[in-house]
Amino acid sequence: MTLLTVTGLTKSYAGADGDLPVLAGIDLDINEGEIVALLGKSGSGKSTLLRCLAGLIPPNSGTITYRGRPLTGANPGTAMVFQTFALLPWLTVQQNVEIGLEARGLPARERREAALKAIDLIGLDGFESAYPKELSGGMRQRVGFARALVVEPDVLLMDEPFSALDVLTAENLRGELLELWESGEFPTKAIVVVTHNIEEAVLLADRVVVLAARPYGTIRATYDIPLPRPRDRDSTDFTKLIDVIYQTMTGRDHGTPLPPPGVRAPAKRTPANTPLPAAGVDGLSGLAEILQRHGGRLDFAELTDELSLEVDDLLPLIDALELLGFAAVEGTEVRLTSQGCAFSEADVQTSKEIFAPAAIEIPLVRFIATSLANSVGGRLRAGFFRDVLAHHYTSEQVAEQLNVATDWGRYAELYSYDTLHEEYRLDPPPG
């Protein structure tokens, strides 16, 4: 039976021209008995979609129904597990777990019984009277699970529930959760989990929904994972699935022809259609050096292993190298271009000299630099650029775009930025 149905959902946040879409045209069903993973790059709108399912943020258009009834506010059939746990530090574990029942007006006795049962189920016995700050991260997240499960929601919503935990703790907790789910004792009928970790998605889910980030979050692909549990990470089926999803996520599966190295697409790129990936110069030159050390090419999977980074942290860096013409992505492999090699080998001054001409080709950087060159005294307020970008990005995204452009432009010595006066200046000043 279908518990949640999303039809034609769009969600926008305010920009200067009105609303800027973050999610568009989302159709999704959550059925009884399944675990669904929402996967996507940072900023693709995973959390936004999850909160729409919970009825915490209103969609701009489209409907979300719970058991056939459209939502008009907080969803009565869901409960949420948070990445940062969201426990109340002034309440004990038991009081934290009871809080959902208290909100429903249950008498103290019943609350206590239900809470103790959930605490027992989730492996928190003995911690009932402890305060959250006495617990380790893993134990805290258990409290988060118990608190959500005790209200017996139809659908459990989890927003990156394991990503604030260390690797071993996360692995352990994930395992226990799956065991519980398989055992049939689990008090909910379906789970939706947001993650940016492909392996986690394939380990947990019956269905993986991949969200695309640009120009706005749409469902790029859906994969059914028919593998029996417990799943073997080293099986060929597993790794094959991971490879396929990797390629989908990095957007190279449609046969989009890559521009030859060094040659960039004609000048149709604008700050609006070419967002800067959230990567600082430090990070991207670090990645270039690592690639260089491995002979200039590496597989995604090798990279994530090598750096023990999540794709989510890695992808912006790769995107940045690619945008600058320092690297190219083929299939699941990242390869340094000749410029990229030169960049990674150079000393600071030379690397700036290589970086500057590459950076000036980036639409937003170029836009800032030319605007400054054409302004009186080579100075412009950040507010000017903010206003221009606000037509294409939400305010959060504008801040991020300008952050990256500032970092790149400063490193390239194209312009400088005065935080106090919120002002960009040509570097060196004209005249």
């Binding site: 940072s42 900023g43 909160r51 919970a54 009825g55 915490l56 209103p58 969609p59 939502l71 008009t72 506010g73 907080a74 969803n75 009565p76 869901t78 409960a79 949420m80 948070f82 990445q83 940062t84 746990f85 969201a86 109340l88 530090p89 002034w90 309440l91 809080i99 959902g100 208290e102 909100a103 429903r104 007006g105 008498p107 103290a108 402890a130 305060y131 959250p132 700050k133 006495e134 617990l135 380790s136 991260g137 893993g138 805290r140 209200v151 990156e160 990503s163 604030a164 935990l165 260390d166 703790t169 940016h196 959230a278 999540e310 989510d312 942290d313 912006p316 991020e400 935080t419 106090l420």
Partner: protein
Amino acid sequence: MGVPRSPANRVAPSRPLSPRLGWFSWVDAVVAAGLLVLLYVVIRLGKDVTLSFAPTQVSGIDTDPARLPYYAGRSLLRMFAALGVSLVFALVWAYAAAHSRRLERVLIPALDILQSVPVLAFLTVAVTGFVALFPGSLLGLELASVFAIFTSQAWNMAFAFYHSLITTPRELDELSRGMGFSRWMRFWKVELPSGAIGLVWNAMMSFGGGWFFLVASELISVSNREYTLPGVGSYAGAAIVAGHLGHVGWAILTMAILVIGVNFLFWRPLTAWAERFKVEQSEAAQVQRSLVLDFVRRANWPRLLGRALAPLRETAGRAGRVFGVDDRPFLVDVRRRRAGDVLFTVVTLALIGWGLVSLVGYLAGQPAGLSIFVEPLLLGLATLARVVVLVAVATLIWVPIGVKIGFSPRLTRIAQPVVQILASFPANFLFPLATWLFLRTGLSLNIGGILLMALGAQWYILFNAIAGAMAIPTDLREAMDDLGVHGRRRWKRLIIPGVFPSYVTGAITASGGAWNASIVAEVVTFGGTTLTATGLGAYIAHATAAGDHPRLLAGVAVMSMYVVLINRLFWRRLYRLAEHRYSL
């Protein structure tokens, strides 16, 4: 983008279990007795409050030192009454501002102005108002005094709570709405605890500042009438009139005991207790400790009381459901909302406009007309000059000393509580002594006024300089040592940038305090002699004493304007500078 990751998931040591005590131990007895005594004292002191009196006659203050404990109790009662009122006000005001889009637009700017208005100027208005409200009873005066103290505390506390309300972490908001909390539950379980630390610390600071207004409000002359309330402040006043320097000494001693005692018995335990509301998930290295709290915690009855009150909490929780569920429905009727906005704006503007028109009409009807503002504007420059000199000199003296203290943990441990108490000690208590000194040395009050104003205000600068110096990381200092950066270069590169943000906070408070103090510092009396300085403070004080309402109005308005303008044009900019450039 970035996913916050907690670096380590260490297992914190579990809290030591309190030793199991019997059902009723001697600790319980002592604490219970203490509470009983407190209750008795409150009742005993409260009985006299409604004693009738004729406002024309100066009620007698007995300067026998044996009466001092009684007077101290009366003063203390006023302070705590004001604290209670301030707390309620702060909670209601901040809640309304944070949860109503429309009210926010009115309440928050209002708070900002109220914070800058010289509170002491209100006192006279309050006294006339409250006395008229309760003719023939001391209650009017008591209320006026409580009101004066309230005005020195409430705005800070409201701001603190408002700030914590609007910065409620997003997850907690989502938790509350997702779980279907009632509004009451959201307030009681999420919002109030999150704001508790800010509230307690702000209340403590404001309470320290409140002593000044207590003293000022116990002895006041309005419209050529002397009003006196039994209390330490009025005791000291009476002792001075009677010329008993010895009794003045007793009063000062009592005041010191009050300030220190309240700190030790009330604020320290409270701040230590409030530690449990820290949102930070890990156990902090340095925690507030309090002997008194440790003692009370050893008692059994707080826990028993908690258990006994559980049904009450349940009932309150259930009753709280009448306030509705914390939810934000998807559908808002845009037309109705728009109409509501328009109505609200129109009504607000109409009220303000009506007030302005009648005010201007009132002033224009006076003999002086609107030119009544000219004199206070000019006099304001004189007071401004005093404030500037005060802040500058206090900076030159106290910042180097504060830095010295802040760099030495040992000195800090001793100096910090002392300075805090010095800052709390009502400086106006010492004014008569200083006046006596001025009379003897022939120093003009035009200069001496600066000293009087500095008596209270300077400590904020010292206090914050110490705090700023403490915040400079030790490794930075060591790095400077290694690099051989000393003397002026060290000040320029390390100390000034490090101390600056904290200093600015202190200087704002100090200058605000100085403006306020000018009202009592520019006219002082000792025995039969009255000294007067040229300035806006004296102008307001004279207008008050003469019951000249148009001038009082003009004076207060001009002084508020000065304070607001200086805050906006000068301090805010420095504050921004401190935030952007110099934050460590």
